[in-house]
Symmetry: C2
Subunit: 307 residues, 2 copies
């Protein structure tokens, strides 16, 4: 195995062994629900300075995703142990950031047991470049709406607030990402780097294709669209807001329109591995660099190192 | 390899070799887009009497799905050749029906080449039982709506009819089936066998979780909801309507409400492997067996054998 190959650990789902898997060999069987149905959940973590960043929030969301899909509760200790083993191996190779992906699937149809593994790879050059240069985005409707007030759903969820249908597993980070990938391909074919989804009915900004939207406003304010519903709560945004509050910033989740992006001091897409990329253009309108660009970037990086 | 193990053939994507894969070994690599994103397409075919049923329609839909996902055009001859090899092997084992699944994914991130394979397995006992006993269904909203008149989409699709966002790849049979599977689990937990999706706004019947809805009405009429939009065109329904027309039935795609299901002579869910299961109950309301139950079942089976 050469020293640049991905580091893979298989995690036995019921608290069994953790084992190193050779990345040159196939890993997944023909009847795994991840392959046949996209039926599983994942988390992507940044590995920095010998540690998984923002670990507890990723673990919490991983557990919540599994619960929404009615998968057995993942054994947190095993995932942490496997991650630390992979990180130790990585640290012997490189001091650079790395990307760690946890995957947990409904598993093989013929065995009925879940499948679970993690991979650790270098951060892609394209990501490193975007961290420096920022991204040009197009805004776009997502193309579908999640219904929250349906005749069947109220009964199904036993009343309470308007809720989406339980089988949509809204809020879970599932492997069903083909539409997001297609939206990114579409954006790139038109000369953009990324997409920000906007609700066509209300004009409300939702999220990036694989990131959370943050605005910096004058007076030391940070804003993000209210998570929940069809906006996946972001682990990086949560870490940032907690840390920034302590540093004297005023942070609030608040719905916003595209106009509120255009008149902000700066707009950022935050996510685990890309961390923070500044939006330099929205639908062709340039967003000039703010005076505090480096300060904001340092703040986000510090938030991830703060735990 | 024991004689009951699945038959797997790997199909090289650019018209290369077809090779037998041992099902006891893993098949798919850690970085395949099928696993990481559910990014691929599939078709499920019935193998009966030594032949793949309804082959041309499956091939056509497979090609259309690949095109919608911007995957390289699948080589039809290779898929047919691989299917015939697998079927020959199956025929030496058994005269029973079998299930053949074609899978074609965006492939490995590290190579950029698509992955493609087929599997051939016995038909599950639960499916054989449903063919005989029928299914109890619950109706339910799908839980989301696909927007067809969006500000961005009209420009994106260069005008014309209202269309869904291109990145939703509506009409493609993709591996993103987790929501359908969750809906089926939900239905089963409440004592039902299957789900028929209904549009909550209009009351329009859409489709089953993995099947097309057909009604038989008096006077030798067959009806199905108009396919397209968020109803995947069914290959079994298409074969049935073509054959039944020749046999003197009057067949029409026509939107219908749940009331039109309840006052039909009989209601059927048709799909490739289950072929035709009669709906025996809708939301707790029994649908008694019609006098011509066997005739309708024979008609559908004959339609699949007619090509």
């Amino acid at each position: 195995m050469d020293s640049s190959s991905p580091i893979i650990y298989v995690v036995e789902p019921y608290g069994g062994s953790i084992r190193r898997h050779n990345s040159a060999l196939p890993l997944i069987y023909w009847d795994d629900a991840a392959v046949t149905r996209g039926d599983g959940v994942f988390e992507t973590l940044l590995i920095r300075d010998g540690h998984p960043a923002n670990l507890q929030r990723h673990l919490d969301r991983f557990r919540a995703s599994a619960r929404l899909l009615e998968l057995p509760e993942p054994n947190g200790e095993d995932w942490i142990a496997a991650t630390r083993e992979a990180v130790t191996e990585w640290s012997q190779r490189s001091e650079e950031d790395a990307k760690c992906v946890w995957t947990y699937t409904r598993g093989r149809e013929t065995t009925g047991h879940p499948s679970a593994w993690l991979t650790l790879t270098p951060v892609a050059d394209s990501v490193l470049k975007q961290r420096k240069k920022g991204v040009k985005v197009m805004t776009s409707p997502r193309g579908f709406s999640i219904d929250t007030s349906l005749p069947g759903v109220d009964e199904a969820t036993e009343g309470g607030d308007p809720k989406p249908a339980p089988w949509l597993t809204v809020g879970a980070k599932t492997l069903n990402y083909a539409a997001n990938m297609a939206a990114l391909r579409y954006a790139r074919s038109r000369g953009f780097d990324d997409v920000i989804y906007v609700d066509p009915g209300t004009g409300r900004v939702l999220e990036g294709a694989t990131s959370t939207v943050i605005t910096v406003r004058s007076g030391g304010k940070l804003r993000t669209p209210v998570p929940g519903g069809d906006i996946l709560p972001g682990t990086t945004q949560a870490a940032l807001f907690e840390y920034a509050e302590e540093e004297g910033w005023r942070c609030k989740a608040k719905d916003m329109t595209v106009e509120r992006l255009l008149d902000a001091e700066s707009v950022w897409l935050v996510s685990s591995v890309r961390v923070a990329v500044r939006v330099t253009e929205i639908d062709g309108v340039p967003l000039p660099a703010p005076d505090n660009e480096d300060e904001v970037r340092d703040l986000i990086n510090s938030a991830l190192g703060a735990e």
